[in-house]
Assembly symmetry: D2
Homo-oligomer: 481 residues x 4
């Protein structure tokens, strides 16, 4: 009971859940060489709650019982609560070295969306279930994954359309009795379901009346009978060619989750046929979770800015005009994200009795991040240079036949060890080192090299155009030199 430790969380995952990875059944997610990285990443959220320097941020007292509970599972009341929660997510992601813990945040978003929908519907049973589920999460301190994206089939068609190849492209109720409902379908891109306690399931689009069977939301343990998690293999391990780093790797992975006639007890059913209320649930969750995203992306973007500046300094070009411009652009990108995320708390709105960050501004924050991310990656690739891709490996660096050459020739600015430069290249490569992008930028000469030639090669013509403008301004006559 009460706040879990990271170790307790790990133990709780040994529950015979059905997980596949690289085409094989995983016996124990906590010992699998890839998935245990994810389990450890999830664990940092539990660690923080027990660390004195984070406790005030991560833990609050239950308003009635006074028991310590995760701040995530506490219902916010005002601007300060929203800003504190925002700060917790940023801080947690910094602690996760740029990777969001995810353990409680998305589940809290879902839980709050369920409360808003229940308050809006006003039906007693839903209000009680929402309250019950919140109580359960507060007491057990469980990790919760959220399964929203249906596999959809033909995206243009409604879930119940007879033109769909089969009726199961969206999760739906196929049966119901005293105990609960039976659901079937599949959800894609579900982060962490394979190594979290609970899975919260909700629709991903608005529904029409004929889609009532698809208007279903619920929560169940991740090892419930009939559930299957097919994981996407993460590329998180440091390989033998990599410079070894004495820090844990942090990463999550996603699953395709199959619901093969899964029984959900009534007290975990939060929507079942009320198709007109799907929109409230979907929009509330989307807003809350985009605010979560706009918060955790801050800590990740801070690291990208840091990599750009480090690389600029190691390359000795931090004072060059276009490099400063790029760093300034990165800072604007980061601070605009921060400001939008924080302003959305300031200008919150009340939905179903709960203050939520301003929906328009949350969405703008997330949009701004997503629409400009590629420019951010490009700026860093541009600053790093082609060595981002072509740098020799750690094994070349270790080989006595080549090490001397590498040490000698791959030095950058005097005073920066060659190894530091190669290590920073390696870090950036893992984050933004898309080979074809780097080659598009740097093969056959950098963008700046081309700009320089375009300017130089065109100057004679530019002067000719200038003379014509001077004639037109009455400054010189045609042909006058």
């Amino acid at each position: 009971m009460g706040l879990m430790t990271a170790e307790e969380h790990k133990q709780s995952l040994r529950d015979d859940r059905v997980v596949y990875l690289r085409g094989e059944r995983v016996e124990d997610v906590t010992t699998d060489p890839l998935l245990r990285i994810c389990v450890d990443t999830a664990g940092i959220d539990y660690e923080m709650a027990h660390m004195p320097e984070y406790r005030d941020l991560a833990v609050v007292s239950h308003p009635e019982t006074g028991e310590p509970i995760s701040r995530y599972y506490y219902t916010p009341q005002n601007v300060d609560d929203l800003l504190k929660r925002h700060e917790l997510m940023v801080t947690g992601t910094r602690f996760g070295m740029g990777v969001v813990p995810f353990t409680h945040d998305i589940g809290a978003d879902a839980m709050n969306a369920v409360s808003i929908a229940a308050n809006t519907m006003g039906k007693k049973e839903y209000l009680e279930r929402a309250e019950g589920y919140r109580d359960y999460l507060q007491k057990k301190d469980l990790s919760v994954a959220v399964a929203m994206s249906d596999v959809k089939g033909d995206r243009v068609l409604h879930p119940s359309s007879s033109k769909q190849a089969h009726p199961d492209y969206y999760v739906r109720v196929v049966d119901r009795d005293d105990k609960g409902i039976v659901v079937r379908g599949a959800k894609a891109h579900i982060t962490a379901s394979a190594y979290f306690n609970e899975v919260f399931v909700a629709p991903c689009r608005v529904m029409a009346e004929e889609d009532a069977d698809y208007a279903v939301a619920f929560a169940i343990p991740a090892n419930t009978k009939g559930m299957k998690h097919i994981c996407h293999p993460l590329k998180a391990e440091w390989g033998p060619l990599d410079f070894p780093v004495d820090l844990p790797v942090r990463a999550h992975t996603d699953c395709l989750v199959i619901f093969d006639d899964v029984l959900v007890p009534w007290d975990r059913v939060f929507l079942c046929g009320e198709w007109t209320h799907v929109m409230t649930l979907v929009y509330s969750f989307a807003t809350l979770h985009r605010h979560t995203a706009s918060s955790y992306r801050i800590a990740m973007t801070e690291l990208l800015v840091g990599m750009a500046q480090a690389m600029a300094e190691y390359n000795g070009i931090e004072w060059v005009g276009h490099v400063r411009d790029k760093i300034t652009d990165l800072v604007m990108y980061l601070d605009t994200l921060k400001s939008l995320s924080r302003a959305s708390c300031l200008d919150y709105v009340m939905h179903g009795g709960i203050p939520i960050p301003n929906p328009a501004i949350c969405n703008i924050a997330k949009y701004n991040f997503a629409a400009n991310y590629h420019d951010c990656a490009r700026a860093i690739q541009d600053i790093a240079g082609g060595l981002l891709i072509t740098a020799p490996t750690y094994k070349d660096y270790q080989n006595p036949e080549t090490r001397g050459d590498i040490e000698k020739y791959l030095g950058g600015k005097a005073g920066i060890p060659t190894e530091h430069r190669l290590r920073m290249m390696q870090l950036i490569r893992r984050w933004v080192g898309m080979e074809l992008e780097v080659s598009a930028l740097h093969a056959e000469g950098s963008l700046q090299a081309q700009r320089m030639m375009i300017y130089g090669e065109s100057m004679a013509k530019i002067q000719e155009y200038k003379k014509r403008a001077e004639v037109l301004a009455g400054i010189r006559r045609e042909g006058e030199s």
Copy 2:
């Protein structure tokens, strides 16, 4: 007969046409203080044909009669013809100081589109009329305006839709007899119809079967009974506050053209009910005319590049990094337009037996120009500075009480006379001096001033992010300085 002179063209416009400007009937377009500017602008195309240095470009021999005819009215046969025509348009617009003569080019585009449509339809009467009209234009060397854009009413509705407020939002045939057809409707944004000889009229969108009455194309003299030209007042005159420039003002203006039951004789009817062929005519004209646009915009853009460079030099900032970047961007904008326009000739396609510039590439050329024009204006405004708007007038410059202060204080780079700087500002103001845009850029400090502060104010944080990246790369440990 044969090539007209500019004076002959002017005389030909005294034909009792019905023209309104500033709410009043214009008696004679060649003497009206505003419209005579347009008449003179149209005249330069005739002047060129008589100038030895342009004659080879502007005039060709009729392939059968050997008579000199305008190159515009000659049917192109190959890449060289297309490139020569392109060069003629660029040269003519340079001669027009950045304003396209327009006199023959758009009419030629229409004439060629008519030929293509006739060849595609293959009907004898249309082939003869197309041939006859071309012959007429070649012999008479007339100026031709083209009226495409219908006023449309509700744009979502078809021309014949009963939901339109009335059936005349698109030009249509309301009657027909032995002599010809009677048409009714209005066309908007029609450049030069008030001061050109002929008006060519064609649909501006594809049609459905029920729109057959709207599938009509024809050509008539601009003074035909029932036509009314309501002109948009041009702002072309130099005013008393302007530094006087000893060059003619060049400009065109547009009209709303009303067709109040106008009779069109059969030999000038090029489409009448053949709704399936509207698309051929519309697309051919659009392609040809966008190529024309992608050609004449070159000469106009050259002047913009010239203004930017002149202003940069007068302000003494032509070596500043971001200024060179902006000049380079302008050159890329210009040369991309040129290259697309020329490559479209190289990769021409045959339509209805006539080589036309590659339709996809023509459209890309025009799109590229139009979509990026505002960035071009912004760059020049940025280089010019706030004085673009706030510079004193010529009258202040003449007033002995203020002239000394202006001479003394508004000098820029040593060696550049203050008056030159003010004259170049005036020229640029007329071309791209939108007050709110300039104020958006320069009020409260320039873009660069803000970038500088953002960079400086953020450096402490940037260094903090850098340290975190170094920890992650295995270069330093947490807290290590």
Copy 3:
């Protein structure tokens, strides 16, 4: 004493100040047909303070005397004060129909910057003068213009460089005695100095030791002997061709201000030779005033969004995909500005004992507005269509010979009077109707028209590329159809 009325402010400007406009001396700025528009615009700030609905926002009690004073002249203490001031500027600009009153805000920015600089320097005389000036403004409720931008000469050179054509390109101290200092120079782009009570003068760049004479800041009445205001003629009047609107025109104008050996008494001198402190003063003012800008631009941008939506509805295209996209972009532009401006209050910093909005975020807010304004203008021009430029005038609309045609043919969506459409076009034309920009967009067909043709004309090739991709994916074999 105490809060002025608009009428009292107007009276206070009849003080024999030396003002030029259109090359002539203006006898009385309150009766000049152009400048009185500006005087009335300035007056709205005084009006607000007397209107019950705005009083709480516009007026605060003096913390010591309890007297009502303008909120602008009150020293902010915390986040709430910063947000209230922000709200006052937005509200005042809404009341000014998109034009900032300007009357107290920029002066307050200067006054606060002076306090910060005095606090940082810590010299008693400066502290007293700063306090004295604040007290004076609070009591007299005066309007204050700020003169920052020197005319600069060659911008690459320092103020004191011997390469400058003369030493007066930056305002400097040429003499000093018991009474005060004597200053000489000129300032450009000075909004409202011709019709405000006071002019605050400060340097516009950082200084080196040899520039000490240029390190001077002071405030004087706008009619001080030796000052000359050469105004830039505003184009604010509705002309005879315009649809008459029964609302006052709101506008400001700028001046070139000459300081011809002007005496400044010591108690109004805030900096005199302390070149190392110029940066504090300049940066503080720049930050504060960019926050002011990021606030008032909100109300202006709201109107632009409103125009876009109105025009989309009048044209009947508000549901078209690319139009909705453009409206959404405009909303993001507006709300990003708002959010940055508000977040800068939330994350304020203390400078010289005064809380000021976060400098990095203020600058990002202003940058974001300025760098993207042209895109905003382009979107509105695109939605409005070519009629934005080519629409007939009010006189054509009144002329019985053309009115019927205009009424009939220029209707848009059913139910919207033609006059409404023309009036909205007129409003937009005044704000963003740059002729060459609109023609770049709409002449020869809109951007969408070109996109449509590019897509259609390229489909055959696209399908060919698709087949090659399918071969590469192992889906089909080469040549297989």
Copy 4:
């Protein structure tokens, strides 16, 4: 002698060259499991010359001997030759399934640059050596890599600067005698040197007089004593998790090339101390090679357009507005590249007696490709959706416990096999599947999802702004509904 076959080329690489890969010495590049992919890729250029359908394009007759030689090694004379060469590169890259053969093209660019420099210098020995090298390449039909990019050290410093950590950051002459010169240094990012016959070496920047020892250009066999190639490990192999494709993998890789006091015989020295001529050589090569790049990138980009369209169709969204917009943007990106590349041939200039594609336009072509590549990647990622990253592997697809679910649930548009969709995802993932970019776009909902919410959530405010605009236009009064 004469044209080599791919097999002969392969044999010629068994020459004891010193190559490292993954930290180990490679005995035979033609049998190494990774490098043999590169060798085969290089071979396709030889294959083409022997295929009837390509022979006319790939092979020309020697102007004097009449012997068949590679078109690459022939000196172009006019527009047609430049366009044919352009076509050969596009065609070769299509044949290489999007990967440029590289075998002769970059070497030809270097050879032509050497001729231009020799012609400009006008020294007899250089003219003879240039001629001799061209003759050698024509006869032997060798593959040539080009080593330009020095490792540079501190990029702000000149090669000979005493502040550089050592004098060897740029390749330089350390000794010379009767036989030739001895060179030392390293070149980075050198494509294909490990598996081509010859390496051509030239400076990468302009030089000052004190850098004369660094002004050196030469060509040598890749197995010359003292040369070491440290390869960057390519990720070209299909792995066990990948759907198997029955096509050869095509790829190149890069090397860090070490010159450890390498002897170059005089007849292969093309520049040795003539520092004023470095610029001619560097600029000529840069221009020629950027034209090569602007040609081969066309075939690569065609495939990207094909992938986008295939994926759009498989997802059933090819008719959605924003998807069509993205496809149109991709086509414009591609056709602008094509047009610039072709127009640069049309507007060629003569350098040192050889026609070369227009330098400004070549550079614009390459810049345009490079600066916008990330937008192109983003568009494809956006169309593909999150499954691009999260799709199950081939092993999951083969596992009978999960195959049924995958087949059932990952179908898209009816009629498209699930396997086809997964294969296309796999292909796109290899080309543009940067995980963090895809997650930036798709995690927490797509860009479109956010735009939709921003628009919807803001509509009430938009209507309010609209009303204010209507008041300002004189259409309604304040407060009127």
